[in-house]
């Protein structure tokens, strides 16, 4: 990790104080050292027992026919071999791919909103609009999912009622019940996708671009579109890179919205790895296989997180608070 700890302070002051007051400092320094371990003990126990042990246990048991509370047998890589031929598992990754691509493409809207917002000259107006744009973030995710599940309802739902009230009954659909539409319907939850990290990052990057650059542009007659492509986007490169990886990690954990709205159905059209894993464990009782699936998700996440860490170390200008 790229953690720079300022080691400077403590030894210096101890040395200075030791000069002026030798009998008291020296023993207390040694005592502090032991006290540090005692101070860390609660955290170490907590993290060891409830974070490190489960993670290790999951990896360990992925090589077993895990039967919690009963006999477990060691089966080597069998679970992983099953995974390689698990059609549904790979299909769920195909859905993840669609979710990811859609997520990235949908950044166009937050980007456009951030550009519009930064073009306002009144700081006050910017603040008001920004606040209104991100209010949906304050709603619990479950509430947003439940509200959208109502919007999609075939009979009383907002979307179908709206379509029939403007005379477009033909377009009304069983949004979540149709295997061809279900995934797309899930993806549109939260439209226009502004209340989220991408918008906040785009906006704060634009805010951090020195005003002089924009002034120089307008003097040179660069119009708004040209500025977007020549200045704003290149300056956002780093943020976009970081966002990409964050979205990959987030996508790997995607699941609760699908659980609430479709539970992976209809006809497995919206199944995702997390749901597949939970199903194997809690409905199928295949704990060892579920452990293998979760280990796979874990490894993928670590790989992508490492990419973030490396990308961040190379870059100190990112405005998401670094360590």
């Amino acid at each position: 990790m790229a953690v720079q700890t300022p080691d400077r302070v403590v030894p210096d002051t101890v040395a200075i104080l030791a000069d002026t007051n030798p009998p008291r400092r020296r023993p207390s320094r040694r005592r502090i050292s032991w006290g540090a371990y005692i101070g860390l003990a609660p955290l170490a126990i907590m993290l060891g027992v409830f974070c490190y042990y489960p993670a290790a246990s999951g990896i360990f048991h992925s090589f077993w026919n895990w039967n919690p509370g009963g006999e477990s047998t060691f089966i080597g890589f069998d679970n992983y071999a099953t995974m390689m031929t698990d059609q549904l598992w790979w299909e769920s990754f195909k859905n993840l791919g669609i979710i990811f691509v859609f997520g990235v493409v949908s950044w166009v809207i937050p980007l456009a909103a951030a550009e519009l917002l930064i073009s306002l000259r009144s700081e006050r107006a910017q603040f008001v609009y920004r606040t209104l744009l991100i209010v949906p973030m304050a709603f619990p995710g479950v509430v947003t999912a439940l509200i959208w599940s109502f919007l999609y309802q075939p009979n009383d739902g907002v979307i179908n009622t709206f379509l029939s009230s403007v005379g477009l009954d033909a377009l009304a659909q069983n949004w979540l019940g149709d295997p061809h539409l279900a995934l797309l319907s899930l993806l549109f939850i939260g439209f226009p996708f502004i209340a989220g990290l991408p918008f906040l990052m785009f906006y704060s990057t634009l805010q951090n671009i020195p005003k002089e650059i924009f002034e120089a542009c307008s003097l040179d007659g660069v119009n708004r579109m040209q500025r977007l492509f020549l200045i704003d986007l290149p300056l956002m490169g780093r943020q976009v890179q970081l966002l990409l990886v964050l979205v990959i990690i987030e996508t790997l954990q995607y699941g609760f919205v699908a659980y609430i709205l479709t539970n992976g159905g209809p006809d497995n059209a919206t199944t995702v790895p997390v749901l597949r894993m939970l199903n194997e464990a809690f409905s199928g009782g295949n704990w060892g296989y579920a452990a293998a699936l979760s280990t796979t998700l874990f490894v993928l996440t670590v790989v992508f997180s490492t990419i973030v860490a490396v990308a961040k170390r190379r870059d100190s200008t990112t405005n998401v608070k670094g360590m």
Binding site: P42, M46, Y52, G69, L116, W148, L219, T295
Partner: protein, 288 residues
Amino acid sequence: MSAATIEAPTRAPRVRKHRRSGAAIHIALIAIVAVGLLPYLFVLTTSVKTNEQFATSYWAPSFPLHFENYTTAWNQIAPFMAVSIVVAVISIVGIVALSLLSGFVFARFQFPGRRFFFTMVIALLMVPGIASLIPLFVMMRDLDLLNTLWVLIIPRVAGGAILGTILMKTFIEGIPQELFDAARVDGAGTGRLFRSIMLPLSLPVVGTVSLLTVIGVWNDFFWPLLTVTDNALKPVSVGLLFFRGQAGTDYGAMFAGYMIASLPLLLLFLFLSKYFLAGIQGGLPGSH
């Protein structure tokens, strides 16, 4: 480029053009805000309708407003809210105590293995909650903690203490050493340093960590869904699903329930939006 430099001296038309584009920007922004907020506004207006009002005027608000929907919903939602609040409060106390202490130790003491221990803490940021869910569930079952409040609290404290420790350490390192030195010269011991300097100064981080915990408790879904089947112990995120089933087609009460469940986070957002945003931006995996 040259065309624009020639054009520049004629000021009047430029100003007018600015104003027109300014209006266009406002219209576009208002449109986006409206699309984003409409679902929530729809829920808000429907939450004060009876089913008859909902059937006759689907879109428009209709009078009289039936606030008794909120009473109905509150009676069903309140137990879930109480569980969430209890879990959040106990978790916050645990997380703040753990991470203040460890952050203080990491930031202000020299001891062999300090780097190693801290790296071990940071490494956990990379472990997604969903990946250890299954082994953690088995562990909790072996400990006979399923269907208790502790199954909701303990993993949250452990998870929250990771980010908490990192935030605290970073913050405490920023407190000028002179303050600690001055206190030491005045005869303060380590405990006194912790109580009289550290605690009061680190209140902003304590606030951020608390806020993150509340947001986490309100949004956590799979863990309580799987570990708590007793309705009396369900937190609000999972309780809402049960509530939806109970409300059936009484949309007014159902939506009133959604609004009540959202209120705590909305209030926090309203009054602490700076911390709220810092929490969201800082709370993502990999962003530290």
